[in-house]
């Protein structure tokens, strides 16, 4: 048997010379699929590892923290008592937000360096691969400080940002204002560090003198089942809170990664369609050769074994190349992905080393599974060829079964939709909707063509034949057309979603930023005085901001004027009957959608906020407003409620009442001269910058969309080559009748364009449904906000035209290749 397998393999190897193109197609498709999948896996894996590092990379576990039961601070005495009671796994952390030179807020995090030095080593993981981190100095020997003793630690990306803003000097000191710089700062590559400046708690106290300890981390494993000694020791004014940090971050970014993974998988699946087509072609070509082998007495098992060995070898080789390529693609994409994640979720990730072999194992497994599935159909067909002495008749197609499958899947979607609310179920629905769409394509495509045929005048027999033949092609290339449908539908879905999001953001931001310019300054009163005396036609509104607290969670508090212009500027999702009356009396607040959904707050509900100065106020929720893209909970309060913010800058909104537009440069000049720390931003600039950031955010998904479309077109092109073998009788006849080659080419292109047009027509409603699902299911579940779905016909037309263009170009080459065959070659076929 082994000898037979060896012989078959040898024959197959020899046959490669005759099947170079088909083999290349298989290899290319597999490599593309593996590369796409592995790049997505690398991005997701490294990002997820970054999140877990964001949590606790070297500590076995930090699941809990101690917080004040009410708002406020933890005293040193509380901390010391807890440690003296044997809780040596507690680490005090104090935080401080400081406004720097350009009114940028710097977040400092002071950690009890000595407590962490005391951590028992059993709490630390053994893998200390991060030996590159410089030591930040405990704030001990200030007089003895050496250049290597850094007082602060920041992430390398944040350092770049601060450097660009001139907030980080060349000798790595942080410029807090024009007089004061602090440092030195160690710049490290640390996943999850984000825009945080970490230092010893002593340094934080020396520098900023905070009011106390913000929270105490509990390092190490925790007994979840029984109340721990720590819980029993906690005084009533302190509470132990479980940190669901990693899970939170996972949830927050899950949709991004699921989206990315889905796109990668989609690309892989589409590639497997290409493989299927190419394999089909390969096997068909081999049938005479394999039949001869059978006639020579080679057992059928040996033939199958040899083909399986060949497939596995291809999978092993293509996966290796694909993984290597995929890693390079991931590295190339990493800046965009990092930017996207930073913009969307305010987390930074590191593309670090990862296990090549792990990745290879995953991709190889996917390739083997994909290849097995792709090979199943051609092998089945081969089986029929090799075991039957009669010509194999095509099975009768029952198209109604596709409709039944489609309806069934849509019903399942409805059941899931009404029975389960989770991101996973949402993505399951999306997947099922796409598959049901494929079934609908299989059902509808022949029918649509049948509808067209009678319309075509009898005077154009070639065109009539072409459409009729298209029906045959649709049956032969159904898999490739399904792949194309998936690509178009997901493209429509993603594009509509992104466009809706963009439009909603644009409308919202334009509406919200209704002033002509904004000044961010610590000297609000003086700036207002200057403006009122020198620019009498400019109206000013001072906006206060601070971080408040609701049930232990930080909330952005922003003052909001209640004049008519501002009332119109606030885009409300829902509100009580007369929200502004209650709001202006400082009895009501507006909260953003994120806050409302995450805390399950309802309109009319009364809630208690705690300000930074520990004062509380009770207010009624009078409205819920859209706040797209803001990952944080926010509330707009009446100006009188936070008249004296605890700390920080104030924003002055400037409205120009005059006709002359030259006021702004002059105003900028005067303010920057007299208040060098003030920052003036023109609304137009701000809008432009915001939308640029927005567009950058979706670069990756858009890129993947295009790649998927290209792969789908490639699949179609390859299918054209596959069915070329079956087309020869028709083509021979047509050519024998004297139809010129160019006309045949035109007819072929017409066939494919028509088929793809139908597919696009079917894909559009499915794409719209997908975008609705993404906006109203996935987005709400992941981010607690949604936005209206906007269907712009322009977008759809552009998308369809570009899809058709891609198909046209992709099909052009193989179609042209077939007509370049001399007519005699085709006509010879008629002679058998």
């Amino acid at each position: 048997m082994i000898k037979s397998i060896h012989e078959v393999l040898w024959v197959i190897l020899k046959s490669y010379d005759l099947q170079k193109y088909r083999l290349c197609l298989i290899l290319l498709a597999m490599i593309m699929g593996c590369a796409g999948l592995s790049s997505v896996l690398v991005i997701n894996e490294t990002a997820k590892r970054s999140y877990s590092q964001t949590a606790f990379p070297f500590l076995d576990n930090v699941e809990y923290a101690i917080y004040p039961s009410q708002s406020g601070w933890i005293s040193k005495a509380d901390y010391a008592d807890l440690r003296k009671n044997g809780n040596r796994n507690l680490i005090a952390v104090s935080t401080q937000q400081v406004e720097s030179l350009d009114n940028h807020k710097l977040d400092f995090l002071g950690v009890d360096y000595y407590a962490l030095m005391s951590l028992n080593r059993t709490r630390l993981e053994k893998d200390n691969s991060k030996s590159g981190f410089p030591l930040f100095a405990a704030n001990n020997h200030s007089s003895n400080s050496t250049p290597t003793e850094h007082k602060f630690v920041i992430d390398v990306e944040y350092a770049k940002t601060l450097g660009a803003k001139n907030q980080l000097t060349t000798d790595n000191f942080l410029k807090l204002n024009s007089q004061l710089s602090i440092g030195p700062v160690a710049i490290v590559e640390a996943a999850g560090l984000g825009e945080q400046i970490v230092c010893d708690i002593e340094t934080l106290y020396s520098q900023f003198n905070p009011q106390g300890i913000s929270y105490i981390l509990v390092a190490g494993k925790f007994n979840h089942k029984q109340p721990s000694p720590l819980q029993l020791q906690l005084p009533s004014h302190l509470k132990l809170i479980k940190l669901t940090s990693t899970e939170d971050l996972d949830q927050l970014t899950a949709s991004f990664h699921l989206n990315l993974f889905a796109m990668g998988l989609l690309m892989f699946v589409v590639c497997m369609f290409v493989v299927l087509n190419a394999l089909n072609l390969l096997i068909i070509k081999r049938v005479p050769m394999l039949t001869t082998l059978r006639q020579l007495g080679i057992p059928i098992v040996a033939i199958y074994s040899a083909i399986i060995i060949e497939m596995m070898t291809l999978a092993i080789a293509c996966s290796a190349i694909g993984v290597t390529l995929g890693i390079e693609i991931a590295k190339w994409l990493s800046p965009s992905v990092t930017q996207t994640l930073a913009n969307l979720y305010n987390v930074s990730i590191n593309f670090e080393n990862f296990s090549w072999f792990n990745l290879y194992a995953q991709v190889l497994l996917a390739s083997v599974v994909g290849l097995s599935l792709a090979a199943a159909l051609p092998l089945r067909s081969l089986n029929q060829h090799l075991t039957s002495i009669q010509p194999v008749a095509s099975p009768a197609h029952s198209e109604n079964k596709w409709l039944a499958f489609c309806v069934l899947l849509l019903l399942i979607c409805l059941i899931i939709y009404f029975s389960n609310e989770s991101i996973f179920s949402s993505f399951l629905i999306i997947g099922l909707v796409i598959i049901s769409g494929c079934f609908l394509v299989l059902y509808m495509l022949p029918r649509l063509l049948c509808l067209i045929i009678p319309i075509i005048p009898l005077t154009t027999p070639n065109l009539r034949w072409s459409v009729a033949d298209a029906k045959r092609i649709s049956n032969k290339s159904s898999i490739a057309f399904c792949a194309f449908f998936i690509a178009v539908a997901t493209n429509v879905g993603m594009n509509l979603m992104v466009n809706s999001f963009r439009l909603a953001t644009d409308t919202w931001i334009t509406q919200r930023l209704d002033a002509d310019a904004y000044v961010n300054t610590k000297d609000a009163e003086q700036v207002v005085t200057l403006l009122s005396s020198n620019f009498p036609k400019t109206t000013t509104f001072v906006r206060q901001s601070e971080t408040g607290n609701y049930q232990g969670d930080a909330i952005q508090l922003r003052s909001y004027p209640s004049n008519l212009e501002h009332q119109e500027a606030l885009m409300l999702e829902q509100s009580i009957a007369t929200p502004w009356d209650t709001f202006s009396k400082a009895q009501g607040i507006f909260i953003n959608q994120q806050f409302a959904l995450s805390k399950q707050l309802n309109l009319g509900q009364k809630i208690v906020f705690r300000r930074q100065n520990n004062h509380t106020f009770t207010v009624q929720i009078v409205g819920i407003y859209y706040d797209y893209g803001n990952p944080k909970a926010q509330a707009l309060v009446s100006e009188s409620l936070i008249l004296n913010p605890s700390s920080g800058n104030q924003v002055i909104a400037l409205y120009n009442q005059g006709v002359n537009q030259s006021w702004l440069p002059e105003l900028k000049n005067q303010i920057s001269t007299q208040f060098p720390d003030a920052q003036i931003v023109e609304t137009q600039d701000l809008l432009k910058r915001s939308m640029q950031t927005f567009d950058n955010t979706f670069v990756v998904t858009q890129g993947l969309n295009i790649i998927t479309l290209l792969v789908a077109a490639f699949s179609l092109a390859s299918s054209l080559i596959v069915i070329d073998y079956d087309n020869r009788p028709q083509r021979a006849l047509i050519r024998a009748m004297g139809v010129p080659a160019l006309k045949i080419l035109m007819l072929t292109l017409f066939q494919y364009t028509l088929l793809c047009l139908f597919i696009c027509a079917l894909a559009i409603p499915f794409g719209i449904l997908l975008s609705w699902l993404l906006i109203h299911l996935v987005n709400v579940q992941a981010f607690y906000w949604s936005y209206p779905l906007v269907i712009e016909s322009n977008t759809l037309v552009e998308l369809i035209l570009s899809a058709l263009m891609v198909v046209f170009l992709a099909v052009l080459l193989p179609a042209a290749r077939t007509i370049l065959i001399p007519p005699i070659e085709d006509i010879k076929w008629l002679n058998g």
Binding site: T54, A55, F56, L59, V62, K76, Y79, D81, R83, N85, R88, V93, T95, D107, L109, V111, D112, Y114, L116, M117, L119, N120, R121, T122, N128, S131, F133, L135, N139, N140, H141, S142, N144, V153, V188, A190, A191, G192, L193, G194, Q196, V198, I201, E202, Y205, S206, N209, Y215, A219, L243, T244, S245, T246, D248, L249, N346, D553, A554, P631, K632
Partner: protein, 375 residues
């Protein structure tokens, strides 16, 4: 919600990063770290910091009890040092060390700390195992200090839950409780059976041959200890003899100090011997010590009275350390050989050193402890 969670996560990240750094500095190549320290003096230069002292040890300042049991924050360096050889009922030996170090932080005070830094070392050995732990804290936070307890007015030295608590303003009788590596819990009762011994000249102890560095140094070598060791749910009753040192100084060494060798010995005849050798690159090696009678009478020993030689080096934790010594005090007819209770008694702290029990043989028999630094 997400914001503060993120803060917590990130802080934990940094904590872990720093933990790793500390671990790395503590664990990786301890020998090298000590060797490199030698360029900046002993213990990374911590013992050289006269700049951080507003006072200096002098002969004119007598040691007075119980005041001088307490902390001397005006001095840069101070330690309370207990070593003991404990035995269970089966005769198994459990050498023990508890030390509380205080360092002046260079006058850097804030609302967080008073500028004092505390480090404590705890260690228990058996013939097969060692449990060593090193913990740190700042003074002024409330979890570390040496003071009279606010409620009782009794002497108390503590860092987190490692607490020496006396029954009076005196050091003894007292209890000492501490845990090691979350595995071993020690509860000891300590009672002094003899007087304190003022080393050097009435407690003024010159450290370098040129007289540039000195400390105030007294010992309590007559300590009876009893108590329990709890480990893996098992409680072992132990008892034995302990030795306590309290020393404070503006600076014990300079950058050319290579290290020191310290021996505390309980002879079977009831006498106690403390020997101390400083190794200095320029000044050479110099010995001093105290021979204490069973009644507590001290004989001050100078370098002329002591002969010490190394009998052999052993490799411990990749470092060649002289674990076998021949020590003589000829005038007192003391000619002894010192060997370790077991070879590896290395303390792998931020500043690693050898601290372990010894066996004494020769003209006199006994047990004790030795501390070998700078190797």
């Amino acid at each position: 919600m997400a914001q503060w969670l993120r803060l917590v996560k990130i802080s934990a990240l940094i904590i872990s990063m720093l933990s790793t750094i500390v671990m790395l500095s503590a664990c990786s190549e301890p020998a090298n770290s000590l060797k490199s320290n030698s360029s900046t003096g002993m213990y990374g230069g911590l013992l050289d910091q006269e700049n951080f002292s507003s006072a200096k040890a002098t002969e004119q300042t007598p040691i007075t009890f119980p005041q001088d049991h307490l902390s001397h924050p005006e001095f840069a360096i101070e330690w309370w040092y207990l070593t003991a050889n404990l035995f269970d009922k089966q005769g198994n030996q459990y050498p023990l060390q508890w030390t509380l170090f205080r360092f002046s932080g260079g006058g850097n005070q804030s609302n967080w700390s008073n500028g004092q830094l505390y480090m404590s070392h705890g260690k228990l050995s058996s013939y097969k195992q060692d449990w060593f732990e090193e913990i740190f804290a700042r003074g002024g936070v409330g979890n570390a200090g040496v003071s009279l307890a606010a409620e009782s007015g009794h002497f108390e030295a503590y860092l987190d839950n490692w607490i020496w608590r006396s029954l009076s303003t005196e050091l003894f009788p007292a209890t000492l409780n501490f845990t090691l590596n979350e595995q071993v819990k020690l509860s000891l009762n300590m009672r002094a059976t003899g007087p304190y011994v003022l080393n050097g000249n009435k407690g003024y102890s010159i450290k370098l041959a040129n007289g540039q560095h000195a400390s105030m140094y007294y010992s309590q070598p007559f300590i009876n200890i009893s108590g329990t060791i709890e480990r893996l749910g098992e409680t072992i009753d132990v008892s034995g003899k302990g030795w306590f040192d309290h020393e404070w100084s503006a600076g014990l060494s300079d950058q050319k100090t290579q290290g020191w060798d310290w021996f505390s010995i309980h002879f079977d005849d009831g006498r106690k011997l403390m020997l101390y050798q400083v190794r200095h690159r320029e000044l050479g090696n110099s010995w001093f010590g105290s021979l204490i009678s069973p009644q507590g009478d001290k004989t001050h020993l100078t370098k002329n009275d002591i002969q010490g030689s190394i009998d052999g080096y052993s490799k411990v934790d990749s470092v060649q350390i002289p674990l076998n010594w021949s020590l003589s005090v000829p005038q007192q007819q003391i000619h002894i050989r010192v060997s370790p209770f077991k070879q590896n008694q290395y303390n792998p702290g931020v500043f690693p050193y050898y601290e372990g029990a010894i066996r004494v043989e020769g003209s006199h028999k006994g047990i004790g402890f030795m501390e070998l630094t700078g190797y």
